[in-house]
């Protein structure tokens, strides 16, 4: 979207871009970062933190895949294996997937995309980063002291009655982390309501903002429930109050109800922001307005609302009433409608678009394929009869990895590659980044597609040994994980490299439209030199002035 008054005072050229005052060179020293209230610097702090936790979570995944290379349980004791997959899940879900896009890309982009100087509550924003790390330290303490073996779902009565691992420390870590997420969600809701630039009406907002808004609503309404649930586990374990333990008069399935009331919508906390990124990428690299903009925007809200009505599909075989299960099954299938609407609209946007296959677009195209496969297998497992067959098998593991990794991480990496010139003012190597995108796509499919077959054939999840006939598919999966690992390491290396050695990107290397591209790269601390005034909707790639700008863009490989 263009503005009428957002021109920087200095002429934009690639050579001068990085020397102008910006949020990176506004102040120096550790103190200037640790006490910053600038949403862009806080986004960088979050980037470092979530990358650290992603590395820890990946290490656990690596060890799991190494153990599963052979049918015998020969690398770890079964108890150790239980801890490995639990810590992999806990770290990846709560400390990477949930905060990744909102806390890194959302923090950086929400004020920029709506023409604001910062988020509504900058101190609360900084506090959220500290609270996140405090929760992380609790969890790391539990990991270092031996970890937890309940699975990331903490099902009772195992977690309350039998497990003698660090359940309370880990649960407290997640409880504390929940506050950080709530702070971020609250900040986004207030900012999007109150701080939009003049002329920026709701239907002129980029779809990333709609998706972030829907995500924030889920966060604020859902996170308190998981916090209370985990606190109740700690209370029952410590004071022996009968809440979930049948021996004390409680009901273990009540835990599953309360846990999944948050944790299923949590999947939408992960995927909705990735869908927002996807809309931005598709529009920018197809040079077209997203087909059915309003429908895509409302689909985000529909997913947020319907996502809260489906949690019972996790308990089809846990003793849930068959009548309730039928209701949850039908409701689960309803979520597929707004999700499919989005996929169809992205695909329709590509039709007759002026498509360029830059690195972010490769991730965007990968997202469509992987998310579709993850979503369709989701409809399969929402079907009562089929779920009984594949429940707790690798089919389910493959399904949710297609959504969480194939969807969220593809979206996150695509977004990072797209906005990296905005964040750092630098370009990364075009060929290497395209190679990394390809490795991630190939590696991902090689890792997780065999797991669909394994699950369908009956291999249960969470076992450290398996019958020899499953070995070929497991070897394929481990080989894929190695390729995926290289695909993840490459961006880490060239992003760091580009900060020092990369060419200056200029303000808008993609020739994209959007308020964030109308300011300098990297942006100044206050984001804009003058308050932008918005005169039309997003993704206006057919306007004459945009064509003029695109003809001057820097070509990125």
């Amino acid at each position: 979207m263009n503005t009428t008054a957002a021109a920087p005072p200095v002429t934009t050229t690639a050579e001068t871009a990085f020397r102008r005052p910006n949020y990176l060179n506004a102040a120096y020293g550790v103190r200037s970062w640790l006490l910053t209230r600038d949403h862009k610097r806080i986004a960088i702090l979050y980037l470092i933190s979530v990358t650290t936790f992603f590395a820890i979570g990946s290490l656990f995944a690596l060890l799991i895949r190494l153990e599963l290379l052979t049918p015998e349980g020969d690398l770890f004791q079964p108890d150790t294996y239980n801890r490995l997959f639990t810590m992999h899940g806990v770290v990846m879900v709560f400390f990477f997937l949930i905060p990744a896009i909102p806390a890194v890309l959302g923090n950086f982009l929400v004020p920029l995309m709506i023409g604001a100087k910062d988020l509504a509550f900058p101190k609360l924003n900084l506090a959220s980063w500290y609270v996140y790390n405090l929760g992380g330290i609790f969890t790391l303490w539990a990991i270092i002291h031996g970890g937890v073996d309940t699975g990331w779902t903490f099902y009772t009565p195992f977690s309350t009655h039998y497990s003698n691992t660090y359940v309370i420390a880990t649960a407290l870590g997640i409880f504390i982390n929940g506050f950080s997420t709530i702070f971020t969600g609250l900040n986004f809701i207030v900012t999007i309501h109150r701080m939009r630039a003049p002329g920026l009406t709701w239907f002129r907002l980029p779809l990333f903002i709609w998706a972030t808004y829907a995500t924030s609503v889920i966060i604020v309404l859902g996170t308190p429930v998981i916090a209370i649930t985990l606190l109740l586990v700690a209370v029952e374990k410590t004071f022996h109050l009968g809440i979930f333990d049948p021996a004390l008069g409680g009901d273990p399935v009540l835990f599953q109800h309360m846990f999944w009331f948050y944790s299923h919508p949590a999947v939408y906390i992960m995927i909705l922001p990735a869908m927002g990124v996807e809309s931005e990428l598709i529009a920018a690299f197809a040079r077209k307005r997203i087909v059915g903009y309003k429908v895509v925007a409302f689909a985000s809200i529909a997913i947020a609302v319907l996502g809260f009505l489906v949690w019972g599909h996790h308990m089809f075989v846990a003793g849930e009433s068959i009548y309730a299960a039928t209701i949850f099954s039908v409701l689960s299938m309803l979520v597929a409608i707004p999700s499919a609407v989005k996929v169809f609209n992205w695909t329709a946007t590509l039709y007759q678009g002026s498509i360029s296959f830059q690195t972010p677009m490769l991730y965007a195209l990968g997202f469509i394929g992987l998310f579709t496969l993850g979503g369709l297998t989701g409809v399969m497992v929402a079907t009562l009869g089929f779920d009984v067959h594949v429940h707790d098998t690798y089919f389910v593991v493959a399904h949710f990895h297609y959504i969480m990794v194939g969807g969220t991480i593809m979206g996150y990496l695509g977004g990072l590659h797209y906005w990296w010139p905005k964040i750092s003012g630098k370009l990364y190597p075009a060929f290497l980044s395209k190679l990394a995108a390809l490795l991630v796509f190939v590696g991902f499919n090689l890792t997780f597609f065999p797991q669909f077959i394994l699950g369908y054939l009956g291999m249960p999840r969470r076992y450290w040994s398996y019958p020899p006939e499953f070995q070929v598919l497991n070897v394929l999966s481990t080989a894929g994980a190695s390729i995926l690992g290289v695909g993840y390491l490459l961006p880490l290396c060239y992003f760091i490299w580009s900060m020092r050695y990369g060419k200056d990107s200029g303000d808008n290397p993609w020739g994209a439209v959007g308020l964030e591209w109308d300011t300098t790269s990297p942006p100044p601390t206050e984001n804009f030199y003058t308050t932008p005034v918005v005169t039309h909707g997003p993704y206006e790639y057919n306007r004459e002035e945009v064509h003029n700008r695109m003809s001057q863009e820097v070509t990125l490989g």
């Binding site: 309501h193 429930v225 109800h257 809260f308 009433s321 068959i322 009548y323 949850f328």
Partner: protein, 101 residues
């Protein structure tokens, strides 16, 4: 919208009402009302929560957006309880399988 200032008198009156209702909870607990035990306790509790929401949390004089946000919270709570009860209420209604029938 102009900020509404609640008088000190109203705050003290609401506080007194909350104390009185707390006392009522204790007194009602001493009397056996049969099936109405829970009804009485919950009615008093909901009344107290409403007083806190409307006066101490200023929802009574806030914008409609604030009121909508508060209602959304309760709506979500109703979803949690309602759909969970859909399970609990119908769990015992599954007829046992009898071979040949």
């Amino acid at each position: 919208m102009a900020e509404h200032v609640t008088s000190r008198k109203v705050y003290f009156l609401v506080f007194a009402a909350l104390l009185a209702l707390t006392l009522a909870t204790v007194l009602v607990a001493e009397v056996d009302l049969g099936v109405f035990n829970d009804v009485a306790a919950l009615t008093i509790a909901v009344t107290k929560a409403l007083l806190v929401l409307l006066f101490f949390m200023h929802v009574r004089h806030s914008t409609r957006m604030t009121a909508l946000t508060a209602v959304a919270g309760f709506f979500w709570l109703a979803l949690l309880i309602g759909l969970t009860m859909a399970d609990y209420a119908s769990r015992g209604q599954i007829l046992p399988y009898v071979a040949g029938k």
